[in-house]
Symmetry: C2
Subunit: 191 residues, 2 copies
Amino acid sequence: MTTRWLTPDEQRAWRAYVAASSLLEDALDRQLQQEAGLPHLYYSVLAALSDVPERRLRMTDLAEYLKITRSRLTYAVTRLEKDGVVRREDCQWDKRGSVAVLTEEGMALLERTAPGHVETVRKAVFDHLSPEQIGQFEEICSAIATAIQGGDPQATPTGSRPGSGSGSGSGSGADDLPWRRRACSSGQSGQ
Amino acid sequence: MTTRWLTPDEQRAWRAYVAASSLLEDALDRQLQQEAGLPHLYYSVLAALSDVPERRLRMTDLAEYLKITRSRLTYAVTRLEKDGVVRREDCQWDKRGSVAVLTEEGMALLERTAPGHVETVRKAVFDHLSPEQIGQFEEICSAIATAIQGGDPQATPTGSRPGSGSGSGSGSGADDLPWRRRACSSGQSGQ
DNA sequence: TGATGTTGGTTCAAGTTTTAAACAATAACT
DNA sequence: AGTTATTGTTTAAAACTTGAACCAACATCA
């Protein structure tokens, strides 16, 4: 079968995307490195934890949430632990498990640096998009993410399908939290 | 000044983007690594060269084109040269300069692997977007790229200059390079 | 119960990639 | 000429990623 090359429109879009994503990632890394002393991924780990009920998540769940390998996450958490912004706890229900917990310092770091981060994101992205475009952007990105994850078009994992941001509720909620099972909470759930 | 936090819509869009770009980059890297033996960035170097008049570009121009540092590019080209897909030539007009040239083998590699790459891009992106969305996508990404590049040369969110050692001289010089066209062509082959 | 297989998470070794600073050569400007 | 700026590489250190190997803890089932 002959290759379905990209149309000129698609080519333009693709180039724009590649350039933008590269520039964006660089900008985010630079900004966060400078202000928080962490690269973007590591910041994302903290952000993920802060977004979750008790600010704790089992390693595997966290890895899945961030779409990275467990090995990679282990490395990251080890460093974050050294920095004192994350702590590991044993899972009480599953003695194999360990739970990454955002420390107070971690929360403080997040609170201290979030404004700068948000500002960067704003200046790089949202300040230049109309409300309409923001919606379009979300749809497009969701479609891409879904396409890549659903290796099999049939088995769309937990929720969201292309068409509408179905899975993701509206209010500031965590995305589709892979709350697979065990939360391994220490005490009671709280907010 | 109070932080302008992201609205729920923006948050959703941002999360979708972060997830998508991470997944996409992974997918591209994996696919290209497997099929071409190169990570995405390296492939992009070849692609960039193939897209340019004589398939040759000065290092600095290439770096700028790809939005990466010269040091990084040096590393990349060194490897690509080892692989035989790129060759360095001296610039005739500027004895400091060196020019990266796509070799025949490089072109062959590109031609051999482009279909697979395009297919991946299609399956991950364009097969799931309407023509309208493709246009939107391009506009959005272009806006982002423009914002970051042309971005306020001094718009470092939370204070930029207060010492802080690793200045890296953001904003100075290197960013706003005008379009200096140094093709450093070998002289033959029109255009 | 014990055998078997699976999962969670880390460790290990190796490699890749990045970074920042220093550098030599050349160009450009005054 | 003398000074400054660029080009591109080098260098050393660090950061990060990978994949396999690994162990302990679970689960399953006979």
